[in-house]
């Protein structure tokens, strides 16, 4: 494990991609749970204001991390899939993987459209501001809010499929698909 390369190799993931994968996995689930919790907070709750501030800030950074992952993936592709996968398994995995990039982009964008609907920029941790682009859509914040929520549900569904597939590979097929994401080589035994 400690001899691992930061870069992906033909038979294993590098720790760069592995770190980004788990960072995004934890962040995406946390963002969903946190977002779900914060929207129903009472106005007088201590987190009523800082909850959304945090959610927005992390959302912007998550999008940046996904952009980094995308570039990384293109320049340094992941190892080939396990042998023995059916064509539809490979295709399904590919579709879900690419859908994650698209979903993070869309969810972040709709979130941005809620926050910036009145022309104010989005403040990331009092650190920098993402400027607002105005579209003059009537009640943009309501529309964007609904789409944001339904996309988040789609994201959670896709993530569930992704996790169930990984567990199926590990426990049913007994292949290395899941362990690869923990740094194991393709040919290693579980």
């Amino acid at each position: 494990m400690f001899s691992m390369s930061v870069l992906n190799q033909s038979d294993r993931y590098g720790w760069g991609m592995i770190s980004l994968h788990w960072l995004v996995a934890v962040t995406v689930f946390s963002m969903f749970a946190f977002g779900y919790w914060m929207v129903d907070l009472d106005y007088y709750h201590a987190w009523y204001k800082k909850g959304p501030d945090l959610h927005r800030s992390i959302g912007v950074l998550l999008l940046a991390v996904m952009a980094l992952r995308l570039v990384w993936r293109i320049l340094n592709p992941p190892p080939a899939a396990e042998t023995g996968l059916t064509a539809w398994e490979k295709a399904g995995a590919q579709i879900v993987h690419w859908a994650f990039y698209l979903m993070v982009l869309l969810i972040a964008t709709t979130g941005y459209l809620i926050t910036t609907a009145d022309g104010r920029g989005l403040l990331v941790f009092d650190w920098f501001e993402v400027p607002a682009v105005t579209f003059d859509i009537k009640n943009q914040e309501d529309l964007a809010g609904e789409v944001h929520w339904y996309l988040a549900l789609v994201m959670m569904s896709l993530a569930s499929v992704h996790i169930l597939a990984a567990l199926k590979h590990h426990f049913v097929d007994k292949d290395q698909t899941l362990m690869r994401m923990l740094g194991k080589r393709q040919k290693d035994t579980p």
């Binding site: 007088y44 009640n139 309501d142």
Partner: protein
């Protein structure tokens, strides 16, 4: 000839004076009208907003104020407190539930002339599906010919709503002050 002119002048004055109740459209297209609300923010200051979309008509006779009639429809979804996320919250089912109750209306029932351009306009106000009588304290701002060939009349009014009457819980006090600025164009 002189007599003729005097007669003409008199008849004009008479016509103007008799001024039958005229119908006015509230100039919402030109946005010479506003419906503002304000309520206490956490009990320490005022939160001010407005409804951007509404329309209305009134009939008004300067010489018979008590016969004034006014009806206004408000698009509640057009709520604007100059902060999109707050607007979203106020429109949600936590507050105004605009999906279920997209519009509000006011229809006057009677007007009490208080003199000096002041009047109390009573009427049925419908908000969130609940209709209650409210009283609006109004005063005349002005009236006369506009520079573009029309005739306009302007009024302002205020009223305080107990939002609980309309099943709207708005902490801390369930109180909203409405301020109305109405400019009508005579039809």
């Amino acid at each position: 000839m002189k007599v003729f002119f005097r007669a003409l002048l008199l008849s004009c004055v008479a016509l103007a004076g008799s001024a039958q109740a005229a119908d006015y459209d509230i100039d919402t297209r030109g946005a010479h009208a506003a419906i503002q609300f304000k309520f206490k923010h956490i009990g320490i200051s005022w939160l001010v907003g407005r409804f951007n979309t509404f329309e209305g008509k009134f009939s008004f006779d300067e010489d018979d104020i008590a016969e004034t009639k006014i009806a206004v429809d408000i698009d509640v979804t057009s709520l604007d407190s100059n902060h999109a996320e707050r607007d979203k919250h106020l429109r949600s089912d936590d507050f105004l539930n605009v999906k279920k109750f997209p519009s509000a209306s006011f229809v006057s029932t009677r007007v009490v002339d208080l003199g000096n351009g002041k009047a109390t306009v009573y009427g049925d106000f419908t908000l969130m599906g609940v209709t209650k009588e409210i009283a609006i304290d109004t005063s005349t701002v002005g009236m006369g010919n506009d520079p573009w060939g029309g005739y306009r009349a302007g009024f302002e009014g205020t009223t305080t709503l107990n939002t609980k009457d309309f099943n709207l819980i708005l902490p801390p006090g369930n109180e909203v002050e409405l301020a109305l600025y109405i400019e009508g164009v005579r039809q």
